[in-house]
């Protein structure tokens, strides 16, 4: 399967933090031809291992999270659903938003908005507090209570699709794009002679504070880790100082959250193989699973590689496949070169 197809495939599945089963199952299916074993743990992480077959091999771990932002039903009033957010959602994109309510089978909901007729001009300039919004499922109070138990999660409707050639737009590119990148890297590595055992941690609950990666990394106990996540690409309404550029390649993280040795090895790989890359300098947390991976157990030599996307945490996140392809090549080449001497 092409990388682009795989990204679109994975984005079509719902997996709000804590409810990731559908993506877990699909990733397991896609990854299994290229690894030796796939297991899970109490947090629901997917852990895959490809052994290199050499004695006392070091462990390299790739990480990307399978969960996405979403909503959870907290109450029912006159048949309309009250909800809370799962992860960071800008309330300004919720009015008149279509929602997939994850009952079995899922049902359509629409976040209703008050018409301007009932509002003052001043109100129209103000965003609506998410606490005042409801999901309309077109059901009476009794039917809604029967069909939508409290605690039912929900996600934005739709998946991802191509806008123009290789520009993909949709929900949950954060972080399914990087999950697909890892699967693709494992496909390429399956035919290579390696000096390290390669683990994949497809983690849960990142959007609620990198929770899955805490236990996933502990269980794997890796020597090296690379966390893959999305980062901010520039848009007309964002500051240049806070963003990177789309189509400028893999973003290699620099800063205290990223061990310099692994960052240097990634940069030298990109230089040598002429893979497009850009540097993303971060003073504190990288805002990725890398933050907890680095301080797991007695510490893990950690790198962060990011894919620039626009409109993060919206239903219209937008990326260019060329950046994802650069990351696939970078990680593949890096892993092939990885032995005791490469990172020092």
């Amino acid at each position: 399967m092409l990388l682009k197809e795989m990204i679109i495939d994975l984005c079509g599945l719902p997996a709000p933090s804590g409810f990731e089963e559908k993506v877990f199952d699909r990733v397991k299916e896609l990854l299994s031809p290229f690894v030796d074993e796939i297991t899970t743990d109490a947090m629901g992480n997917l852990i895959a291992l490809k052994k290199c077959g050499k004695p006392n091999a070091k462990k390299l771990m790739f990480d990307a999270h399978m969960d996405e932002i979403g909503m959870i039903v907290t109450g029912i009033e006159k048949g309309f659903l009250r909800f809370s957010n799962i992860g960071g959602i800008d309330p300004r994109m919720l009015p008149a938003r279509e929602i997939k309510v994850l009952t079995d089978p899922p049902i359509l909901g629409v976040i209703d908005t008050l018409p301007p007729h009932a509002l003052s001009d001043e109100d129209m300039d103000k965003s609506i507090d998410a606490k005042k919004l409801f999901i309309d499922v077109g059901l009476s109070e009794d039917e809604a209570k029967k069909r939508v138990p409290l605690g039912t999660p929900a996600v934005f409707t739709g998946g991802a699709e191509e806008l123009t050639d290789n520009v993909v737009c949709g929900k949950s590119l954060d972080d399914r794009s990087c999950v697909a990148i890892i699967i693709k890297v494992m496909e390429y590595l399956s035919a290579k002679d390696l000096n390290v055992d390669v683990y994949c941690l497809i983690s849960t609950q990142e959007e609620l504070g990198t929770r899955g990666a805490i236990t996933g990394t502990y269980g794997i106990n890796p020597d090296y880790a690379i966390a893959l996540d999305v980062t901010f690409a520039s848009t007309p309404d964002s500051k240049k100082s806070e963003t990177l550029e789309m189509r400028k390649g893999a973003a290699i993280g620099i800063g205290p959250n990223m061990n310099r040795s692994i960052a240097n090895a990634l940069i030298s790989t990109a230089e040598e193989k002429e893979i497009p890359y850009q540097l993303e300098v971060m003073g504190g947390s990288s805002g990725t699973d890398g933050w907890v991976i680095q301080v797991c157990r007695e510490g893990v030599i950690t790198g962060v590689v990011s894919l620039p996307i626009k409109y993060m945490h919206s239903p219209v996140e937008t990326m260019d496949i060329c950046d994802a392809e650069a990351i696939v090549r970078l990680l593949t080449e890096f892993t092939v070169k990885l032995d005791k001497d490469f990172i020092s």
Partner: protein, 340 residues
């Protein structure tokens, strides 16, 4: 009628760009009409003979156009700038899909990552002039190959039934009226009638004005979609009307004090025939009725509307049982009028 409405909602017809909708309606009504005119602004005027001639010149009217956007600029890096066609609450368009022009070029209205939004910023809505559409173009040149200034765009086009008999689509306002008129034109009528599928209602009832001048009707019936604010937090007095409570027969809105006599006749007909109806409990909104009532020497005017939630948004909602009664109720009124 439901299937017709679904098809109509899918079509693009922002104000001033109603061609696709008109072409479809034209094809549908052609076999049943006794005369068709497309006038200077693009209104589609259909006459149909009934069982008897009547001195009472009757006009039935619904608008084809929907709210949308018009492309006003292309940035150097390929983003599109736009203005609104009709009254759009800019709070409902953030992060939404837009389809532009005849080729339905797909774009999205972007917004920067939530991580970069301050608590203060979160409370306000971006101004229309600061918003932009991303069609995935890498440059101005690439964007210009796909889109031209003056192209119109419409919202997300999926049409879905959900819940207990509800329909979700864009443009239910006023394709619901168009669908009801198609149904009437396909039926045998009690008297001669003229039907006007109007343009540019959403930017100020522009099309209906010249239809009225041309026809100078005695009696006019406007078929519409109307705003419902029937959400749990809204006090009774501000709900306007409720989905599920039947068709809306208004006595007054911001543009029109409807004919008291027709209001009485229509509500009595509804009661007598067991058709659920309600009236607007708040003086809000306006329709083509305003210009038809005061066009030429004036007309006795009434409206029948379907209640619609999120009305000018990509995800408007109507209850199927409410609007399905619309052609029936209109027909009952025509029968009554033909007796006079």
């Amino acid at each position: 009628m439901l299937d017709t409405l679904k098809t109509l909602c899918y079509l693009s017809g922002a104000s001033g760009y109603e061609d696709e909708v008109r072409d479809y309606i034209l094809e549908r009504v052609m076999p049943y009409s006794d005369g068709i005119i497309t006038d200077a602004m693009g209104n589609l005027i259909v006459t149909k003979k009934g069982k008897k001639q009547s001195d009472n010149k009757i006009l039935i009217c619904a608008h084809m156009d929907e709210v949308g956007i018009i492309i006003t600029g292309i940035d150097d890096d390929g983003y599109l700038r736009f203005d609104f066609l009709g009254g759009i609450d800019r709070r409902v368009i953030i992060g939404k899909h837009i389809y532009i022009g005849k080729d339905r070029i797909h774009g999205v209205i972007g917004i920067k990552a939530y991580h970069h939004v301050s608590k203060e910023e979160e409370k306000s809505v971006p101004k229309r002039e600061d918003m932009y559409i991303d069609i995935g173009a890498k440059s101005k040149d690439e964007a210009k190959e796909l889109v031209s200034l003056g192209d119109a765009g419409v919202f997300e086009d999926s049409v879905l039934e959900f819940g207990n008999g509800f329909l979700k689509a864009k443009a239910i306002d006023d394709r619901v009226g168009c669908a009801a008129m198609i149904k009437l034109i396909e039926s045998e009528l009690p008297c001669d009638c003229t039907f006007a599928f109007t343009v540019q209602e959403e930017i100020g009832t522009r099309g209906a004005r010249i239809v009225s001048s041309r026809l100078n009707p005695d009696t006019a019936i406007v078929l519409e979609g109307t705003t419902a604010a029937d959400l749990p937090d809204v006090p009774e007095g501000k709900r306007i009307c409720n989905l599920g409570d039947g068709l809306v027969i208004p006595f007054m809105d911001k543009g029109t004090v409807y004919s008291r006599e027709l209001y009485k006749t229509l509500t009595e007909l509804a009661d007598k025939n067991g058709i659920k109806w309600q009236t607007k409990t708040m003086i809000a909104g306006g329709t083509d009725a305003s210009v038809i009532q005061r066009g030429g020497t004036g007309a006795d005017t009434i409206a029948i509307a379907a209640p619609v939630r999120n009305i000018h948004s990509p995800a408007s909602i109507a209850k199927i049982s409410d609007f399905e009664a619309m052609p029936h109720l209109a027909m009952l009124l025509l029968e009554e009028l033909s007796e006079k």
